[in-house]
Symmetry: D2
C-alpha cells in the first residue's frame, strides 16, 4: 500500500496499537449507550444509516481488511454479515442496498455487539499471538481506526437527523450542552496572506488518507480570511433580509434546491429555537451557524460581500494553528461561541470541488475505493466538528459532501481577495 | 349512529362486553410477544405499519372514539399520541404521515404498551363505574373491537413483509405450521347456482360494518363456482406456461405492473421454496396460492378458462356455509390444503370493484371515514384468511385492497357462467 | 367475431359502407384543417396524443385489421408505421412508447396524410374489386369506423389540452361558440323510477362494442335522477363553499389527488373566465360544468346531498330518450345551457366501476384488446359530449376513464335513492 | 460592464459591427433551413430546446439586453415573448418553464422568424440612426453575437438528439460528411510540459466571457498530454474489454449512472454503426469518439492507465496552437480523423470542476447570470467541436456541462503525470 506514505512501525511503536484500537472501539460503543434498540435500528433517509449498522460496518471493516488477510484459519463470523455490512466496496462483493439498511430488525443490536466482541477478540489474538502478521497489516489497522472515528461522527449526525424527524423531538442526551453563557460574538477580523507558492497536502510519516497526498505546490494570489465562523446571529440577518427568496444570491442549482425543497432557514432551526442532540433549545445568536448546505453557505457569502475560501487558502491559514477545539470528547455535541479556532465546532465549506491532488494515486486493493471514487460533484470541507474525535483531525484533512447536504455539522468561514 | 343497524345492548348482554374487550386486547399483545423492540419499530413500505404503531393506533381508537365521548373529566394520555396514532381520520385532526411511521424510535414499544394499559384501565373504569355512559357508546366499543381484530391481521401481514425484506429471512415463530402432510389436491368441483334475485348484505342485529349494509336485492344470472381455492401447484402451471410473459392474459394495467415491477411469480415464492411466518419452507403444491395481486388472480383465471366470482356470487355461495376454517387462532399462520371451505386460509379476490350498496349511508361522525371514503379503485375480497381472527368474519364481510396489493394473504376461487 | 352480435350485411345493405367509410374519414381530416403542422405534432402529456398520431393510428387500424386480412397481395404502406401507429395492441406487435408520440417530427403531417390517402385507396379497391372479401371483414370495417369516431373526439380534447398549456392561450377555431345567450338554468327536477328488474346493455343487430353486451337483467331499487346536468353556476357554489378544502366531502384517493395536484377549481377555469376551443370566454353560469374528474364530481354530489347515478340507473333513464343533442356536428365544440337531454354536451360520470357484463366475451383476435383489458380502476361515463360524433352514441354506450382524468368533456348529473 | 475587459470600440472599428451581427444572424437561420416546422417545434428532453425556441431566444437576448437599453421609444415586439423566450435570467423576470418549451405550437416558426426580422430591423436602426447609443451597448452586442453562436451549436446538438429518438432515424442533412477515407489512426504521441507557474485565462482586449477572466497564475507540476483525441477504435476496445461492466474503473456516481441508465456504449452507437446528423453510417474506428459523458471519459482514461488533463494543463498545451480545425463552417457536422488539433471535432472533457478564477467578478446586471451562477457540479470542457462556429472559440474558452451529459459532441484527450 505504497500510496499511504507514513511509517506504521514507528507510529505503532510510539503507542501500543492494540490499546489504541481498543480505546477507539470502546468509544464507539459508549456513543450507543444512551440509545434503545429501537433508536439503533431506524434509518431516516438513504444518506443516513442506523447506529446498529455503523456498529456492524466498522467491525466488518476490520474483519474484511485486516483479519481475513492476517489471521491463520480465518473464517467470517457470519457469512451474511459480509453482505449486510459492506458499504460501498464493490471489490469485496455484493452489498445490501444502502436505502434498505433500516429494514433490518435482525440481527438485533445485541447480536451486532456480539459480532463486535468477536472481532475485538480476534484482533487481540492477532496482536498477541501473530505479531509478524499484525505488523504486515499495521497500515490497514491504522486505516480501520480512522475509519471507525469517521463513523463515530456519523452515528451522531445520522441519529440527530432521525430524532429530528420524530414529532416528539427527543434528545439524544439531555446534558449535552454546558451551561449556556450568552455572549456577544466578536467583530469579524481578517487575516491577510500574501501571494506565493504554497505547499498543500499531508507531509511526514504520520497517518493521513490517500486523498491528502501527495504534498504539492499551489500558487495562491493574496487573500484574506476571517478569524471566526459565521454565527447564527449573522445568518439570521441573511434570513431576515429575504436571503431565501432572492434568486440573485444563489447558484442556479442551489436556487432550484431551495425552491424545490422549500428551504426558508437552516435545517434544525425552529421559531426562535434550535433542535440539538440535547433537545430543543433557544437559538443562540453567538453560536456558529451549522447544518448549512454548500448552497446556503455560498449564498450567504455572496450576500455578505465575501466568498468562501478555497481549500488551499484554508489549509494555508490553518497549517500552523493548534488543532485543539470543541470536539466529540468535550461531550457538548454542539458548536460553541468562540473565536479564532480553525478546528472543531463545525466543518467549514470551501469553494473547492473535491478532486485528486496532482500525482494522486488511490491506495491499492479494495481500500482504494475509500476516497478516490467520490471525486466528482462533491465540495471539500475542512476543520472537523463538535462531533469529530479530536485525534481524527489535522490541517490537511479533506472531508467531502454533496453541495445539497445539510445533516452534518457544516458551517462556514468567509474569505475575500486581498485588496 | 343509525347506519349500523345492530342492537348492541342485546349483543353485550350475551357476552360481557368488558370481558370481550379485554380478551381481544390481550390477543393483540400476544401477537407481539415473539418480537423484539426492533421488530416492532420498523416499516418496510408505506402500505405497511410497524407493530408498535398498530399497538398504539388501536388504543388511540378507543381513547378517541370511546373514552373521549364517554368518560367524565377525560383528558388524553399524551397529547402527541393524538397525532402520532391517528391513521386517516381527517375529522379528528392532523395525522403523522403514514410513510414516516417507521421513523419513530420514541415512544418505545414499552411506552406504547403503557399507553395500552392506561386505555384498558380507563375502559375498565368506564364499564364498571359509568355503565350508562358505557351503554351509550356500546356501538363504538363494538366497532373498536372489530377494528382491533383487523389490526391483528395487519400486524402479521405487515411483519411478514418486513421479515421478507431481510436477507436473513428470519421466522416470526418457528413452530407456526403443523407437520406438513403432503397430499394431492382434489379435482376442482363446481357448484351451480341458478339465476334469480338474491339478497345481498348483512342482515340481523349482530355487528357488521356500514359497508355491508343495507341488505338489498340483486339479480344474478346462473353461475358456477369452484369448491376450493386455486393451489400453488395449479398456479405453478400458470407460471411454467409463461403466464407472466403473455400480455394477452392480463388486464392492461396489470401487465404494466407486471413489467414495471418485474413480477415473475407470486410474492414470497423462491426457487422451490416459500417464505412464511415460520421461515423458509418447501413450496407445497397442495396449499392454496396466496399473496397474489388482483392482476395475477385475474390473469390466472383467464388462463384457466374461467373468471373470478363477483362478490354477490361469492356471498350467494357462502351464505349458508359454516364460517369455520383455518384462522388466526389455529396458530398455523399459513393456508392449509383442504376443500370446501369458504372461510379462512386466504382472502378471495372478487371481480367486484368496491362500491356502496344501494342505500348505503356511512356511519355518522368521524367513524364514518372508516369505509366509505375508500370506495374507488379497490377490489372486494371475501372470506378471511389464516391470520384473521375467527370471530371477525362473516359471509357478508367486505374486505378491499387495491388491485396491485400482494402483501395480504390473498388468493382466489374460480367461477364461470353456467352453461 | 361472434361476440359482436349485430348483422353487418343488413347494416351495410342499408347504407353503402364505402360511402360511410369515406364520410367518416373526411370528417377526421376536416378537424385537422385549422391546424398547422406544429399544432399537429405536439404532445402535452402522456395521456394525450398529437393530432398527427391520431391521423396515422386510425389509418393503421384499417390497414392492420382490415386490409391485411382481406386484400390479396397485401403489403404494409411503410413497415415502420406498423410500430409507430400501434396504440396498445400487444397481439399485433411492438409499439412506439405512448409518452414519446410527441418526439416524432417525421413522418410529417403531409406524409401521414399521404398514408391516409393510400389506405383510403386500398379500402376503395377492397370494396369495389373484392366485394366478397369486403363482406367477410364488414364487422371490422364497422369497428374501424366507430374507432375513428372515437379518435375524432380525442383529437379535439387532446388539442384543447395542448393549447391550454400554451401561455398564449390560442383558440382552435375562433367561431366555435354560437352567440352566447345568457339564461337562467332551470331548477333541477327529479324523475322517479320504481324498483324492478331492468334490461341493461345493447340489444338488436345494430353496431355496438363488445363491452355493451350481452344484454342482461339487473335489479334496481327505486331511484330518482335529475333532469339536467350540473351547471358552472352550481359548481361555483361548491367552490365558494370551500369544496376544494373540505376533506370530508371527498373520497380518500380524491382528496390525495386534490392536495397533491393543488386543485382548487375545474380544469380550464380561470378567474371568471373559461378556456375553450374557441379561446378564453367569460364563465357562463348556465352552461353544464365540464372537465371534472370523477373525484370532483363525486365530491360535488356529496356536497349537494345527492350521489352520482350508477350506469344501470343512467341507462334505464336514458333508454327511451332521443339521442339528439349538442354533438360534434353542431360545430360549437362546447357544452350548451339546456335541459332534459341525456346525450351530448358532456359525458356523465357514473358511480359504476368499469366491469364486464355477465356473460361478457371480448371480440376474438387482436381487436379483443379494444375494451376488455381496461376493466379495472376505471369509471364508466355515459351520454357523449359536444365533441362526440352524433352517429357514434347510443343509450348503451359505455365510455370509461380513470377517476383522475379531467381533460375530456366530463360532467355530471345527480341521482338519489327514492324516498 | 467592467468585468469584460476588452475594448469594443477597437474591435468594432476593425470589423463593421452591424455586418458581423447580420452575418451571424443569417448563419443561425441557415441552420434551420433543412427543417420542417415540425422539426423546429419538438423538444426531446428537458435539457434540449426546440430549434424554434433557440431562434426566438437569441432574438429575445438582443431585444432585452440591447434594444431595450439603447433604442428610444422601445417597446417589446410582443409582451408574451418576454416570458416565452427568457431562458434563465431571473433578473429579467418570469420564465416559461424549460421542460415545457416543446408544448408551444404557437407562435409558429414563421411568427418567430418574423420576430427575428423585426429585431434585425431595429438593430439596423440602432446602428445606423443612433450610433452613440449603439456604441454604449457595443459590449452587449458583442456578447449577444457570441451568445447566438453558442445557440447555433445547441440547435444542432438538440436536433441531433431529437432525431435520434425517432425510430425512423432521419438525417438532418444527407450530405453532411465528406467522402469517408478509412485511415489508420496514428499512434498516440505525448508532449511533455515542465513544471512551472503558468498564466491561465484570457488576456488582451478581444472578446472573452467573464468566466475566462481574470488572467492569473497557476503552478503546474510537469505533465504529459497526448497529441490527439481518443478514437472510436480505441473506445471500442474499452467496450470490448468489459469497460461498462467493471465498477472499479468508474467514479462511484458514474457507476450509478451507468447501471441506472443501462449504458453499454456511447450515445448514438449502434451495432457497428453510428447515428449522425447525416443519418446512420458505419462506425469509423479512426474518428474521434464523441458523445461521451464525463463519467465515461474518466473511466476510459483510468482503463488506459492515464487521466484527463486539468483545464490549466489543457490551456497550457493549447495556448500557442492554431485555432483552425473542423468547425461548423466545414459543413461536415461530424468529427474527423486527424492529429494534433486542439480545436474543433469534439469538446474535450477536463478533470477540472467549473469554478471561478481567482478574482472573478460576474458581469454587471442581468447578464451577470450568464456564467457565474452555474459554478457548481459541472465539469469544464475545452476546444470546441465540429458544430461550434470557428470564430467562437479560443484557447481560454471554458465550456461546462454536468458530468452525466452526453448529447453534446464531447470527447477526450489523455494526460499523465510526467515520469
Amino acid at each position: 500500500m505504497r500510496s499511504m506514505r507514513y511509517e506504521p512501525a514507528r507510529l505503532i511503536g510510539q503507542v501500543a496499537p492494540l490499546q489504541r484500537y481498543l480505546a477507539v472501539r470502546a468509544q464507539t460503543e459508549r456513543l450507543a449507550e444512551p440509545l434503545s434498540a429501537e433508536d439503533c435500528a431506524l434509518q431516516s433517509m438513504p444518506d443516513a444509516s442506523p447506529t446498529k449498522w455503523h456498529l456492524g460496518h466498522t467491525s466488518w471493516f476490520f474483519e474484511t481488511f485486516v483479519l481475513e488477510h492476517a489471521l491463520p484459519d480465518f473464517s467470517p463470523y457470519r457469512a451474511e454479515f459480509r453482505v449486510l455490512f459492506n458499504s460501498y466496496y464493490v471489490g469485496v462483493g455484493p452489498r445490501h442496498p444502502r436505502h434498505e439498511r433500516g429494514l433490518l430488525s435482525r440481527p438485533s443490536v445485541d447480536e451486532v455487539l456480539a459480532f463486535r466482541r468477536n472481532v475485538d477478540e480476534r484482533m487481540e489474538e492477532l496482536f498477541t499471538r501473530h505479531p509478524v502478521a499484525a505488523q504486515q497489516v499495521a497500515n490497514l489497522v491504522e486505516l480501520g481506526i480512522h475509519h471507525e472515528q469517521q463513523h463515530q461522527e456519523l452515528i451522531l449526525t445520522d441519529l440527530k437527523h432521525l430524532l429530528s424527524r420524530n414529532p416528539l423531538l427527543p434528545a439524544y442526551r439531555k446534558e449535552t450542552r454546558a451551561a449556556r453563557q450568552e455572549r456577544q460574538s466578536p467583530q469579524i477580523g481578517w487575516r491577510l496572506f500574501p501571494e506565493g507558492i504554497r505547499q498543500i497536502g499531508h507531509e511526514g510519516r504520520s497517518f493521513a488518507f490517500d486523498n491528502e497526498q501527495p504534498r504539492h505546490r499551489q500558487f495562491l494570489a493574496a487573500f484574506e480570511i476571517s478569524d471566526r465562523l459565521v454565527t447564527n446571529g449573522e445568518f439570521k440577518q441573511f434570513v431576515e433580509d429575504g436571503g431565501y427568496a432572492r434568486a440573485e444570491l444563489w447558484l442556479s442549482e442551489g436556487w432550484d434546491a431551495c425552491v424545490a425543497r422549500k428551504w426558508s432557514r437552516p435545517l434544525y432551526w425552529r421559531d426562535g429555537e434550535l433542535f440539538t442532540l440535547g433537545g430543543v433549545v433557544p437559538l443562540d445568536a453567538a453560536e456558529p451557524a451549522a447544518h448549512l448546505s454548500y448552497y446556503e453557505a455560498d449564498a450567504y457569502a455572496r450576500w455578505a460581500g465575501a466568498r468562501l475560501p478555497t481549500e488551499a487558502e484554508w489549509e494555508t491559514a490553518a497549517r500552523d494553528e493548534p488543532t485543539s477545539g470543541n470536539f466529540l470528547e468535550s461531550g457538548r455535541l454542539h458548536p460553541m461561541p468562540g473565536t479564532g479556532q480553525y478546528f472543531g465546532d463545525t466543518w467549514e465549506w470551501t469553494s473547492s470541488a473535491y478532486a485528486p491532488y496532482p500525482g494522486f494515486r488511490p491506495a491499492e486493493g479494495a481500500v482504494g475505493e475509500y476516497n478516490g471514487k467520490f471525486m466528482v460533484n462533491q465540495q471539500v470541507l475542512r476543520g472537523g466538528s463538535c462531533v469529530t474525535p479530536a485525534a481524527h483531525i489535522r490541517a490537511s484533512y479533506r472531508n467531502f459532501f454533496p453541495a445539497s447536504a445539510r445533516w452534518q455539522f457544516t458551517g462556514m468561514r468567509l474569505a475575500r481577495d486581498a485588496r
